[in-house]
Amino acid sequence: MITTTTATTQRPATGTLPQATAEPVWVRVLLTTVALFFLALFLAAPLYIVFSQALSDGFALYLAALTNPDALAAVRLTLLVALIVVPLNLAFGVAAAWAITKFEFLGKGVLLTLIDLPFAVSPVIAGLIFVLLFGAQGVLGPWLDEMDIKIIFAVPGIVLATLFITFPFVARELIPLMQEQGTEEEEAARVLGAGGWATFWRVTLPNIRWGLLYGLILCNARAMGEFGAVSVVSGKIRGLTNTMPLHVEILYNEYNLAAAFAVASLLTLLALVTLVIKSVVEWQGERQRAAALEMRAEEA
């Protein structure tokens, strides 16, 4: 049997020695106060206002604003778009990250740049590009008209625009993670006789699951909240092509503040839930990573 030597690390006594990074008390208090003040001003106050405005005319009216047929249609459309976009970008993001990190091929740099494109382009421009492509006066417009396919000012256009805007989230989250992990475990699986699918499901996926979930949450949040690109292609037909963010804008422009804030409060709740899940996932992912790093450090 091998004897394992356990090294006990002796921590230096803290508190007795002046630490190199320690700042005077007043600096720390000042910095903390400034940070908290900004947090209150830009996060807490708006949050409070959204809910107080939404409920300003009473809870009955709040509910009425939410159950209004147009509002319900907007919620349904937003959910539908997210339901289509998130799985598609899941598949695309995993495929792209897999290809980029596990294989060498020509045009890898180009693909990496293309993945970042939606982050670099203003969403409004993205929307306009789709209008120029698929709109009545667009390149493919006449042909689509002939085939009786409606994309712009219809649900397909909204899905396409959202797809474009949100496709970097999953891939961008996975690429650094998979690069860090390398290909050794996959090679081990192959040598042991696993095929491509088995390797992916049993080895790769479990290793990236927290990063993947994190990317999906961000992707979903953006898919539900996207305004710019969607607003260009949607046409804002009430009850038909209005998503929740667009519906909020319309209500607001009609001075229907209570209703606008009521729908906005739903989006805000979504954001809060997203943040909570995100923190949990991040914490889990960090734990997994710390364990992996610790292993590697011991072996090095």
Binding site: A188, R190, V191, G193, A194, A198, A291
Partner: protein, 332 residues
């Protein structure tokens, strides 16, 4: 299972990793690929496994060409340098992996898999760790898990990449002996890569010394150490003194240098004692050639002869190479 490597060449970009290399590994042999980093030893191992494809050349298992066969189909056991254990699986699941991913027809029943894994864990003496995760194991334990995982599918060929590189000295020694025993018990053909000459000499039946993508020498540990075929092998294996003169280079091991107070016949060199280092049962003398202080000479004596000489630092002595090996001067 014998392995034949025929005329393998491999280039990575502009770097010639392997050049027209031939190697035969006999059934049941334990072979060490020894060389400095960049000598192509790991690349050769990966080509044998099928993890890398050669540009030119063939790999045969039992005389059967496997060049076109994928990693999956070659059915070799492979132990990675950093083990590459599946981090999210327990030790048991790691070891069971090779059995579970078999094609439906060849796959064993669950109970059979369990029994087999337990037996294997017992063999490598880690049955008590079955439910642990890799991050909860020590380096030596991980090494055993990696071996168990590679051996569970009963491969005829076992390939190991720097199997002891990441372990501390004591654990390393123990595992070496244990690997030798295991290799003989399982009668498996094994090839392992190492840059550690001591490890190669101690564990392997035959040592393949590699340099710059070529094989410098193949032989038993004794042969490569006592009778190196080239200056490179001399300099790479063990400590050696390089003595130059008249278009020739001669090599002599520190323990093959006779140290005396008086000139002792032909080939004697006058030297000054710079430093005396007693190391365990031997005493190492750092000398410099008389008249050429920047040419260091290393000699090794046993304690007994050292006492008889009663040497002190700064004194003059004479050294005589007992078994010098002379090569035409082709600088390494």
């Amino acid at each position: 299972m014998s392995i034949h490597v025929n005329g393998i060449s491999k280039k990575f970009g502009g770097f010639q990793a392997l050049e027209n290399l031939d190697l035969t590994v006999n059934t049941g042999e334990l072979i060490a690929l020894l060389g400095p980093s960049g000598s192509g030893k790991t690349t050769l191992l990966r080509i044998i496994a099928g993890l890398e494809n050669a540009d030119v050349g063939r790999v045969l298992f039992y005389g059967e060409d496997t060049t076109a066969r994928s990693v999956r189909e070659r059915q070799v056991g492979f132990v990675f340098q950093h083990y590459a254990l599946f981090k999210h699986m327990s030790v048991f699941d790691n070891v069971a992996f090779g059995l579970r991913v078999k094609r439906r027809g060849e796959r064993l029943q669950k109970a059979q898999i369990r029994a087999k894994v337990e037996e294997m864990l017992g063999l490598v003496q880690i049955d008590w760790l079955a439910s642990r995760f890799p991050s909860q194991l020590s380096g030596g334990q991980r090494q055993r898990v990696a071996l168990a995982r590679a051996l569970i599918t009963e491969p005829k060929v076992l390939l190991l990449d720097e199997p002891f590189g990441a372990l501390d000295a004591k654990v390393r020694k123990e595992l070496r002996r244990w690997l030798r025993r295991l290799h003989h018990e399982m009668s498996i053909t094994s090839v392992f890569v190492t840059h550690d000459q001591e490890e190669a000499l101690e564990v392997a039946d035959r040592v393949v010394v590699m340099n710059k993508g070529r094989i410098e020498q193949i032989g038993t540990p004794e042969a490569v150490y006592d009778d190196p075929a080239s200056p490179f092998v001399y300099e790479f294996l063990g400590n050696v003194n390089r003595l130059e003169g008249e278009g020739r280079v001669s090599y002599v091991r520190p323990h093959d240098l006779l140290v005396s107070r008086n000139p002792a016949g032909q080939g004697t060199i006058a030297a000054r004692v710079d430093h005396i280092m007693p190391i365990g049962p031997t005493v190492r003398l750092m000398l410099s050639r008389e008249g050429a202080p920047d040419v260091p000479i290393e000699a090794e004596l046993d304690k007994e002869s050292y006492r008889e000489l009663t040497l002190r630092e700064g004194e003059q002595v004479f050294v005589t190479p007992r078994r010098p090996r002379v090569f035409e001067a082709a600088p390494v």
